[in-house]
Amino acid sequence: MGVVYCSCGPANVKEMSEPSEQLAHVELKDLPPLPPPYDNIEELPGFKKLKDETREEYEASLDDTLAASLKKPKSEEEEKEMVERFLSGLHKLFTKENNWTFLQPLLLSMEHCAKCQTCVEDCPIYEESGHNELYRPTYRSEILRRLYFKYVKNGNKWFNTFQQGGIELNWTLISRLFELSYRCTLCRRCAQSCPIGVDNGLITHELRKLFSQELGWSPEELHGKGTIQQMEVGSSTGMNKMVVMDNIEFIDDDMTDRVGFDVKTPWDVEGADVLLLENAGEFLAWPENHGCSSILLDAAGISWTMSSELAGYDGVNYGLFYDDVQLARVATRHFEIAKKLGVKKIVMGECGHETKALGVIADRVGIGNIPRESILTLMRDIVFSGKIKFNPEKNDFPVTLHDPCNIVRNLGIVQPQRDILNYLAPRFREMTPHGVRNYCCGGGSGFAIMSKNNFLDWRNHISSRRKFRQILEAFQDEDMSPETKKYVCAPCSNCKGSIRDMLDFYGAKEKSGIYYGGLVELIVNAMEDAREPILDWDMM
């Protein structure tokens, strides 16, 4: 076993199964430089090394960080047993009983890749890692593909190896593969550019499912503290019904003070037209977002309610990122709550993955669906309904828009947010590229809530780097000093979390005056009748 400390990745697929101290390593000096004043590595935060104790306890032979954090097995027997279980899961992944949910897309992606590498330059993680081979979108896909052809696909083994190349299945491989399935944000930008329609994001998703559904391996933030806590306690934030109602009451009072008219969130109103289902993380981290939604719905005269049922006040669904059964459980709970209340529709708050999970992915997990729509489209209609008076001059500062992948690439909701910003933000400018060709914020697929060990450093240096670059570039025609306040509008809770972390990490508020927030805050900030501006730069 040799120490691999060059700034490089694996030379080939087979290295994945070969024991070594570390398969890949990233040196900060090899990352594509950021624009000034973020171009001097010495002045940027470093990339903390994993502690020796952590490396002792966890399988950390993939790269410089740990996201999934798998404990080392105690014995070789345990390793062997895990490999057997992995193999059994691999078979189940390709059966219609266990994986009807994605079998067809998975088979198509497994069997038809031309290995042309047309998709790779579109991956922000690969590019911004300085083209580290470990993060090439096709690398992890290739491993699953070779395993599939070797162990699952019928036919002559020799012919299959001749077609696809060989691979050795062992503990080293599966423990690394588990970690590697958490180095992709599932943003699916690479899938857009594959001429054949192969989807490397989907393959990552399926790998995570295999590990979770068969071996019970998943990051604590997504499972124990995520879907499980949501269904046991009511929210992945850990807030139970009493706490959430208290919090909302506080938000309502605060908003009432600030805007000068009554803000009151209705709870459990049977027969309301709309059930508002938001990411409960908003209530703690960005309370104005809920407050502003509440103001807007009331001002538009909409009959709406929130639900205090278990999980009825938290729209997140982390099952989307790692486990179809958990996804279906959370979504089914949401559907049941809406049906019980007898609402006409569920309106999903500014949360990309919630909207994708409940709006589209969970569309086929059950029978007798309740209609769902994104709050973005509803807000566009409210803004242009003429019911509310706006003064766009209140938003007279530079604004750019982050497109959450889940909202644009995966749902096709592209224009409503632009219609609103074009009207209410006179200094709105687009990022390049934007819309369905956007770049992920770097927090996708659960990364935004994962920060154990030094994963936050990995995220900010690598997976969020492209978004940070885009944000800086969007404001280049402005005075980049902190005196000119600039606003990154991110209509997604997860994206906000990740943008918050990246702006903090690089000190972008202090150095360049870059702030961030949601869309509804900009809308309410421009309301003619509001007493005080909602956006309080000192508090942001």
Binding site: L103, A114, G165, C194, V325, P371, V414
Partner: protein, 311 residues
């Protein structure tokens, strides 16, 4: 009927049977969860910005007309010009386009030879009028298709060996496939260039094949060409090169498949069948026992109890 007749029939039967089997296997997979990827070109009036019907409030009450012409507008440049490769991997474009377009020209050539062969058998005079123009077009198609395809295959072969990304994932089959394709292009090209009777020979060959009649004596390169083409027919359906038709599924059944599941709608039956299947995933939080199906697992609190048991 000669040995050649037998071989042609055998390879075509294998080709068609294997392609049909693959298509059936894909079509028989259960309904899957929605996984569309925008832009979806059949979104009327919204495809240009990548939008969907979800941009409308109460979208389920609105018309869901699909713009199928919009789909063609994406598929045609993609198939003929490899637009995706042009946009995302320019350095690969010429070789890949050459290799593919050369094949399209040869497929066109084969169709034309077949047509002329049938007309010849039907007793039409191929040596005069419009048909004679078509006959002379044959040679041009064979030369241009063969040359373009050969050039593309050779460059692709070099790239497979030398390009940092492509060589990492190259398996032996990639090289064999390119040699095989290269051999098809080369023998077509040589046959067309070296045989003064090329058009007559190839039309005669097809006429003999379709009528189960006599096949004219061909130059050696012609026989080699037939051999590599037939071998390709037998081999292709077992490789990733079936993407020439499975692409239909990746686009229409996944990327652009955005059919909402409306209460009482056509999808409910398929979903009911999918969720009634027993699940055997082994992780404890799933709570599967091989008998419980998806509905059993997702409803109720079985999962939570299991979590407590684990703790």
């Amino acid at each position: 009927m000669s040995i050649l007749h037998g071989l042609v029939i055998l390879s075509l039967v294998i080709f068609i049977a294997a392609i049909v089997a693959r298509a059936v296997r894909i079509m028989r997979t259960p309904i899957h969860l929605r996984w569309e990827l925008y832009p979806v070109p059949h979104e009327k009036g919204r495809a240009a910005h990548g939008g969907s019907m979800l941009e409308e409030t109460d979208w389920w009450t609105k018309s869901k007309d699909k713009d199928h012409l919009g789909e063609l507008g994406v598929m045609i440049p993609e198939i003929l010009l490899l637009k995706g490769v042009w946009e995302h991997n320019r350095k690969l474009w010429f070789s890949s386009w050459g290799m593919h377009f050369g094949l399209y020209l040869l497929i066109g050539h084969l169709a034309l030879v077949t047509l002329l062969g049938i007309l010849g058998v039907a007793g039409l005079d191929l040596s005069t009028g419009f048909l004679s123009i078509l006959v002379s077009l044959l040679k041009a198609l064979a030369i241009v298709g063969g040359a373009l395809g050969l050039l593309g295959s050779v460059i692709l072969f070099v790239m497979r060996l030398s390009d940092n990304g492509m060589k990492r994932f190259a398996s032996p089959s990639h090289f064999v496939n390119l040699i095989h394709l290269g051999a098809i292009y080369l023998t077509t090209l040589l046959w067309a260039l070296l045989d003064p009777q090329y058009a007559l020979h190839s039309v005669g060959l097809l006429a003999g094949l379709v009528s189960f009649g006599e096949i004219p004596a061909l130059p050696v390169v012609g026989y080699v060409n037939i051999a590599v083409v037939l071998l390709f027919f037998v081999y292709l359906p077992f490789t990733h090169m079936t993407h020439f038709f499975t692409k239909y599924f990746t686009y229409h059944e996944v990327r652009w498949e955005d059919e909402p599941n409306m209460p009482g709608g056509p999808l409910e039956g398929k979903i009911a069948a999918a969720v009634s299947q027993p699940v055997t995933w082994a992780a404890p939080h799933i709570g599967a026992d091989g008998k419980k199906n998806w509905v059993d697992l997702v409803s109720g609190t079985g999962k939570v109890d299991d979590e407590k048991k684990e703790a």
